[in-house]
Symmetry: D2
Subunit: 433 residues, 4 copies
């Protein structure tokens, strides 16, 4: 750091007239930029991308929770490269000091953005209109931003829902990201996220999830459970039923398989042909799931089956009885499917978007497909725990940008059993106070 | 075995009048019933299911390829249990000696079978009409059988495609299964299937797959490749392109992700933001896949992008150029998707069914979702190899009934590289002869 | 089967004088040869190995528990191949009808068998001396058999313990194996073994293990626990301590790591530097395990540390206090090690052999190395459960011949927590009766 | 940062007289402290550990390769906590500005350190004697430092090799660590290390390893291969033989299993009873490995078997013929073992230490046990690549502190095949120049 320079921070005139002239821009970053590794990341992007930087001013917060500030001059060999670098570091919260309003381009067709559209992250984002910053609504990664300038309103919009004439933000100018900081007051959660190891203390992690369920219920938050059929196959359905009955789960996202095997279990006592009470294979069982689907199709749906007394127990039954809003999304490997299943992927995404708006905690259990799908839709600040016995599911979620997701590599049945136990212990302790 | 009894094999009259009277039926099994473990399996089902058996006649083939025969009397405490047992063992080829025609019930509604419908396996199946046996067409597991009695024709039909008035086979009477025998003249394939171990000789397995590709091409068979995006992420796209160009692949089933990252690679040189030639992370890359989809959407589709010179290389490009029929099935985790993607799961299944009819060899690479989906549709006699670095994919396929699938736990890139090498070596050797 | 032939079963004279003359031998097999897949296996070995067979007589047991019998004539192109085949099928219980005494050769050196030695399986084995059959003692796979003809005694002996002059059984003549049958009265155990899937009901499996612990304790059997350090890392030590204190564990085999991290946990409250109660990383912790080892070394051993009040809790403490016989076997990745560790692998094997003689149930948790080592030593009839979150450990055990081992793919902490719960519930239920 | 203070940096007198008085110390850090995340790490340790910091001076290097400097004042509630914090951050290169010589304590017994010993990392370390800094020899993690003050020499010493009277460094004063910086000029290596994903480009990673083998050979470095038996089981032995013959491998560390199955393959053509050329199971094979060991034992060792013409091919044969120094370390799961195996773990460690002194590149393939053992011994600056199909092996290595190890999750056979190919292509390219 060479001290504050008296040179004007941004001098575009100096490199007019020549394509090869060096380009320069000044950016600033705020927050836990050292603890959260934001500044190191930004500097790394600049140098890896062929640019150079000079830190013109830096103030480092003294405590864990004090914000820091850095003013950085970024240089690149030419303007195009500089813009690429700025776009890159903007996603990490580096905002040019010379600010302009965002640029909007009218969509020239339905279902696609104009070229050069701003591509969103799942971080809190603001756009600049008439010199003021406005927060973008419905934050979601891999979308565009559509603006209603008159109302000073902006929201994320997926590609497929663009209508001709929509005003779409293009370029990075006038857009700023407020990165969620990793170093929070949740050391347990932080720790679990550090590494996809199976050799970590599990008791404290499960206890922390139990606490989160309670806190969320007490504070009126909404908990979304995203679950795969292994919940039923491993005999964990009853634990989930308990959580539903006691009001800890407010939404359920799953596929045809979870619902089918749950219903198979309720009607025939088997899951994929395996009788769960004794672990014996009941051989006729391979047909049971198909007969279950067929029966529900004949009745018109899961709710009808509950109302007509055909379905008397299980996860889906508890959802109907306890007004848990469930969404079953279809996939190409489905048998049947059940009449409740949304077979069109885009329609399923649309409905999932609706239903996650007020979700404040998300528990993903034993499903890669649905977990990644929900991870794509959730903003970065919604707490998310992904439980799977297979480390690759958690690795996949992180690879795809759901950094806020905390992975717990453990086995579904004993996990859910312990979770219910811990919830009960915590409520008993609180009742005793 | 107590020798042939003079008692009539089936005496239903003897247990009329009482619910608790023992029920009895005589079945016969043919084929490699000992080598293929069919007979042990059948006897096991009977005793596990609470029945008893008496082997009344048995002839065991003397060589590996000589068929055997067994006549077995099955007893159960009451008629319902006997019928459950008979249904069970029928799937393994045990046919009652007293044969009747199959029973058909008219579908009373669209999109669902009558209760009691016969649920199909993926094995070759025959039904009895007017005393003659007819093979069922379009064999597929977890379907029903619809019969056109006038034409003596029958075919498998999925639940969703039942029309009111269809004549659906109910019960097991008059239906027989001809199990595919495991012990074949493909010891390498057999061996690989024995166990989901990573510690197996891989060279010979890959060579065997190369031979199968060549044989299938030479004999005019159709090879279907089912692939996941890891083919692109791991930098294996070029190997697959080679196989397509040289005429070894005739169908490609994949999802939005494989096509998107392949196109991203062709346009931007990255896959999920990773530049493949040097393995460096190009940070701006996380937007590339979205920009790729958007660009193709603006052009109307993959074929149009090829025709207009926007897409000039990669797997999808080679498919268009070499008339490989591709099918992209959507899922809820898709970004975009590309305009070519079939977003409705039922429509995707319908089209997959059309396209697999003449497939004789199926190579599944690095995708659980699409592999299980295709495994559900393929009859048992189509050779299938599933390659994945994660043993759980192969385990899952087998758990769901795709027993004919041979699993190879290995890594995509070096696998495909070695496969192309082996194909070239084999053709060079043959050319030299 | 062509009915009993009047031809003499074994006619060696017929192929004297020519190397290429066909060789023939008659063998018989008894037991659940169809249910247990023994006969199919034997026939398969014969034909795969280039031989042919003729089943001369067969009687199939009528119930699940009735034994069957088969008399099989085996032919091979020449005598050497026949002998190889006979050796092979002998391991599955096929015994030549023309029986001779076993052949013994004197060991010509220490620490190695004579060439041609009979190599043992882990199945119950008998040898023939003076026309009588005697059971072999200390059954263990991959050993030889040393005979004391005068006492009509024989026992398995590992290669390294052969002394010059020992009478070692050579060849297969006069040796017969009594295979343990797979189909038993433990359907749950059987079922779990069927497949290394993570999608299986776990509750019933854990309950079954709890029952086995109780049964073994009540009947005076000895339970051996073989454990890895993940028991401590995952915070499961307390559960194991409970099982030890309540008398369910009688032997503990582990390595330096389990004991070290258990002692680190007792002294510093961390395991590998991670504080278990809250899951927080205590950074200084990476030294704790080393300081723990050093402290125990300074005191002379674990027992001394307990006696001097330095070690006051944990697994090793409970072992000392409850007279559980522990054995710590060293490995090349050990730090330290603790003074109690047996650093020589052969000496460790010798002591393990001593300590497993009266073991009737073996629970292996989260250690590949020690599980395979113990699996090598245990006879096939000792019940064994191997619990690991990584399916490859279980696959490895099975690949190496420990077929009696039942694999449970689950997570250590919630597994042990559930196991202790189930043990307590079962004892409470029994007490209530 | 509040600007440089005129207050003396270290004022111990200010908090004498009271146990609860705040303690303070000034430390400095140099190097790529922001890019390499060293400074964020240090600040994080301080605040997590209950301390506070004030950055008194900071200079941030302008380029990727320019070093930075920070002067940090650390405060903690009391002296003991401060010392713990200082010890912690010292491992990351933070050195107190007020420097003293290191403190030495005489060992009071053989085989254990004095309490309070300085516990080493695998990073380059220096100690201060008579006001000068000296580098510590034989750097190895989890050791102590023994000093010969007269010669100004110091070296790492494992606990078991301490002799009474040795002068052992205690405490952190006068010890400083020079951390190896992660951001290097090896972006490919860096990238591969970022994450244990299977979905990464493999071609470029393998090519990079090939380049490293060539570079190391050309520059006279020593390459150590640490290998597991899967090299033989998967049929990859021939590829390793090629690398040995062509002079790319200079040391081989393995266990009894690799050598045994390699010799079994050479003598019987099988590995664990599997014939490698065709992938067929040769059933008699389960005895082959035992007969192989026995035969080598009868001859006295591997070298003798080569000399007497019994062993004519394979990895061990090539080692003998090409003077590759091999070390076979025993374990409790070994059969036999071969006479060359070092059965005592401490003796094996001693010999491994000798043999790694001049190793400059280490390739670990398909063995967790031996990889962790070697990872424990290697200093952080020796480049290390760990190849395994199971991600958990790589995760385990990293969890245990071998951060310099780069993990490649791939399959052994196609990996080694591709590696040999790439080596040949690179040498051909170079020859063509």
């Amino acid at each position: 750091m060479k001290g504050s320079s008296s040179k004007p921070p941004h001098a575009p005139s100096s490199h007019a007239g020549s394509a090869s002239v060096e380009a320069v821009e000044e950016v600033e970053v705020r927050g836990h930029i050292i603890d959260s590794l934001i500044l190191p990341k930004i500097l790394d992007i600049i140098t890896t991308g062929g640019g150079t930087f000079q830190i013109k001013r830096i103030t480092i917060g003294q405590g864990r929770h004090d914000p820091s500030y850095a003013l950085v001059e970024v240089r690149a060999p030419h303007e195009a490269q500089l813009q690429a670098l700025l776009a890159e570091i903007a996603d990490h919260g580096a905002v040019p000091t010379t600010q302009t309003d965002c640029r909007m381009v009218e969509a020239d067709m339905n279902g696609a953005f104009p070229e050069g559209f701003y591509s969103t992250t799942n971080q809190r984002t603001e756009i600049r209109l008439d010199g003021h910053w406005y927060e973008v609504d419905l934050q979601e990664m891999d979308c565009g931003i559509v603006v209603a300038p008159a109302e000073h309103a902006a929201r994320c919009v997926p590609m497929t829902e663009v209508s001709r004439g929509d005003r779409i933000v293009c370029g990075h100018a006038g857009v700023r990201v407020v990165p969620t900081e990793r170093t929070k007051d949740k050391p347990t959660f932080e720790f679990m996220a550090s590494n996809v190891s199976t050799e970590k203390p599990k008791g404290s992690a499960i206890r922390e999830i139990a606490r989160e369920l309670l806190r969320n219920k007490r504070e009126g938050g909404k908990t979304l459970l995203v679950g795969g059929p292994a919940i039923v196959h491993t005999g964990s359905g009853e634990h989930l039923c308990t959580l539903i009955r006691e009001g800890y789960i407010h939404r359920l996202f799953a596929g045809n398989a979870l619902a089918t095997h749950d219903i198979e279990q309720a009607i025939f006592g088997t899951s994929l042909g395996v009788r769960l009470d004794e672990g014996q294979i009941v051989e006729a069982g391979h047909e049971h799931h198909l007969r279950s689907i067929n029966r529900i199709r004949r009745l018109g749906g899961i709710r009808q089956a509950v109302e007509q007394g055909v379905l008397k127990s299980g996860i889906m039954y508890e959802c109907v009885k306890n007004d848990v809003d469930y969404l079953l999304a279809g996939s190409i490997r489905d048998d049947g499917p059940l009449p409740d299943v949304i077979t069109d992927a885009l329609e399923a995404q649309r409905q999932m978007r609706e239903k996650i708006r007020d979700v404040t905690f998300c528990l993903m259990i034993a499903t890669t497909l649905h977990s990644v799908a929900v991870g794509n839709l959730l903003p970065a600040w919604v707490k998310c725990v992904c439980v799977d016995i297979n480390p690759s599911t958690v690795i996949k979620l992180n690879d795809r940008g759901s950094f806020q997701t905390i992975g717990l590599v453990t086995d579904v049945e004993p996990f859910l059993r312990a979770l219910v136990d811990d919830v009960h212990k915590l409520t008993a302790t609180e009742a005793a106070k």
